[in-house]
């Protein structure tokens, strides 16, 4: 869901680039954040809560709420809402399908 025409703003999107979300190839733009690119691709669930497996998405989008953390290029707990998207980046949801033994 990208805005094409806007009455006030003009979006100068960067170069189109490829990235991977849980192994699936997606298209984003250079200069946008990982979270924005995922949202533009219709992905709103970024992780699951550890214990109850409740879905998690973004809340603040300025790097303060820790709701958007994902594993990026093997590094866990990256704040995707303020991390710029890079060509070939591998983004993975956290905790999805992970069982916790008590």
């Amino acid at each position: 869901m990208r805005i094409q025409n806007h009455p006030i703003l003009c979006f100068n999107r960067g170069k189109q680039i490829k990235f991977y979300y849980n192994g699936k190839e997606l298209i984003g733009y250079e200069g946008e954040t990982i979270a924005a690119a995922l949202y533009a691709n219709g992905i709103f669930k970024f992780s699951e809560s550890k214990k109850l497996k409740r879905p998690r998405g973004i809340f603040c989008a300025i790097g303060h709420c820790s709701s958007c953390l994902m594993t990026v290029d093997g590094v866990p707990n990256v704040r995707t809402c303020i991390t710029p998207l890079k060509d070939g980046m591998r983004v993975e949801s956290e905790n999805i399908g992970v069982e916790i033994n008590e």
Binding site: M1, E32, F44, F59, C60, C65
Partner: protein, 547 residues
């Protein structure tokens, strides 16, 4: 072990307060390092597409994004400012050593003085299912939509009617997103009436004394259950209703980001009027730690104009302290800035801020002019519904009907006292006046007004209209502000609405002022049947009407 770098002034945070602080100090020869955790400057200004209120001196009438461009341009041109982007201040120690993380490297700095302009974060709200994807802070919606051009949803329920909530609703509509309703727990609208009025004209319901009970949905938001509240803020039984929406936007206030201040053991205190824990500070923005200053939302939640002036005061105070030259001149500029701040806060909407500041022991040396601290009109109906009362309108319309016979005249539908003057400053005929105080309600002198329509594009609240009652035997013309797509064409038939967003009649577009001067707030003349000249206040252009 990396070397410790000495600095004259470190400014933490590249938002309106930080940028203004850096500029104010650098202009007096101070060497400034400005650090920002994002890869770009601007803070929240980067998503503010609306025109600002306040005085023209502080960029009122200019869009936030354009104010930002000016500030960044000045910062980039200033040789005394070094900008450190993608740099997170992680630590500040008792010996004032500051550690900054940049590109996975920790660097150490030893600044003579520091200004913290770290801003605020959004408050959260407790209700069932409030952790579902699709529940956003208002700022997040703005970031996705206005910075990256990505829509967060198609139909949004807004919780909170403060200025941020109202402004974000308007911006959602501009981006083509539906706003299901605005829900406000208090019995009255929190933000400026002009923002509420422009949403009502567009058909958005504002439900005061209502709250959200729970969010509905499994993987993401599919709706919300809201209910009415009584005068004790308790749920009124049997008033539950389901609102369909695919996102819930929380705009329930901000709280200062004081984490770094606490690391340095700056004294803080809880002041609810200022958003939570705020640093104790003096009138020059200096905290309990010498040479450690604050500016903007971290010193108490206000708005961007106040943040910029606080930034100036902090920056100038550092310049005076380090003192390379022109101390008297700096002192004069500090006084000017303080007076400006006082004026901004002197109206009824500044009451809360004044109360909060007085809890910190600050009243800027003098008492505020109480004359301007009460509303001039009874606006209780307006603040409950977003729609002005008959009484309010009567106050701003010509007292005699025959005034309309002279030709087109401007009508100001601004009923609330708050600091704003672009309508006054824009009028080439001096026909609009606030009687010497920026907090007064503007009145139009119908004798002087020519109905030129300049003020229609300049009013940040979109509250100026021009009415030409006797355009023809049977028709009137109303000039209305328009900030949407698609743009109308001359001769086109559009749907015309009243102040509550109710359809009135069809109208014909007869003139469009939409040039560089209007800066995307077009002034559109719509011809309508004469009987509606006092009601017609909005219009919609049908998509696909352009052939």
């Amino acid at each position: 072990m990396s070397k410790i770098q000495n600095l004259e002034l470190l400014v933490v945070g590249g938002g309106p307060a930080g940028l203004s602080a850096a500029l104010a100090a650098a202009n007096y020869g101070i060497k400034v390092s400005l650090t920002e955790e994002r890869e770009f400057l601007g803070g929240q200004l980067i998503k503010q597409t609306h025109r600002f209120f306040g005085s023209e001196k502080e960029y009122a009438g200019t869009r936030g994004i354009d104010i930002l461009k000016k500030l960044i341009d000045e910062v980039n041109k200033n040789n005394n400012i070094e900008v450190l982007l993608s740099s997170r201040v992680l630590g500040i120690y008792e010996d004032n050593i500051v550690t900054i993380l940049n590109d996975h490297k920790m660097k150490k700095y030893y600044p003579q003085s520091i200004i913290f302009a770290t801003g605020a974060s959004e408050k959260f709200l407790a209700f069932e299912n409030n952790d579902l994807p699709g529940i956003f802070g208002a700022g997040a919606v703005q970031t996705l939509m206005n910075v990256y051009g990505v829509l967060p949803a198609t139909n949004v329920l807004m919780i909170g009617s403060g200025n941020i909530g109202l402004i974000v609703c308007y911006q959602l509509l501009q981006a083509g997103v539906k706003v299901a309703a605005i829900v406000e727990a208090a019995p009255k609208i929190g933000g400026y009436s002009v923002h509420a009025s422009k949403l009502r004209r567009l058909g958005v319901p504002i439900l005061t004394s209502h709250t959200i009970k729970k969010a509905i949905g499994k993987e993401k938001v599919e709706g919300a259950v809201i209910c009415e509240l009584d005068s004790n803020w308790n749920e009124v039984k049997g008033t539950e209703q389901l609102i369909k929406c695919d996102a819930i936007c929380l705009s329930v206030g901000l709280t200062p980001l004081v984490d770094l201040l606490k690391q340095r053991k700056v004294k803080t205190t809880y002041v609810s009027e200022l958003g939570g824990y705020v640093p104790l500070r003096d009138e020059n923005m200096e905290t309990s730690i010498k040479n450690l200053f604050v500016a903007g939302d971290v010193s108490g939640i206000e708005e961007a104009t106040a943040a910029m002036i606080e930034g100036q005061i902090a920056g100038l105070s550092v310049a005076k302290r380090i003192g390379k030259n022109s101390k008297d001149e700096i002192e004069e500029r500090i006084e000017e800035a303080k007076n400006e701040l006082e004026l901004l806060r002197s109206g009824p909407v500044g009451k809360k801020i004044r109360k909060g500041l007085s809890k910190l022991g600050l009243n800027h040396g003098k008492n505020y002019n109480e004359k301007f601290s009460e509303e001039a009109l009874d606006i209780s109906h307006l603040m409950k519904t977003g729609v002005p009362s008959e009484e309010n309108l009567k106050n701003k319309l010509p007292s005699e009907e025959k005034v309309f016979d002279k030709g087109p005249i401007a009508i100001s539908e601004c009923f609330q006292r708050f600091p704003c003057d672009p309508c006054v400053k824009s009028c080439p005929f001096n026909a609009i006046s606030e009687n010497g105080n920026i907090n007064n309600i503007p009145y139009v002198d119908f004798e002087k007004c020519t109905g030129c329509g300049i003020c229609v594009s300049k009013c940040p609240g979109l509250a100026m209209f021009v009415i030409h009652k006797n355009f023809s035997e049977t028709t009137s013309v109303v000039i209305m502000p328009y900030e949407f797509l698609p743009r109308p064409h001359k001769g086109e038939i559009v749907k015309v609405f009243d102040r509550e967003g109710k359809y009135l009649c069809d109208g014909k577009v007869i003139r469009i002022l939409d040039g560089k001067f209007q800066d995307k707030t077009a002034a559109v003349s719509i011809e309508i049947p004469k009987e509606y000249y006092l009601q017609a206040r909005n219009f919609k252009v049908e998509e696909g009407n352009h052939g």
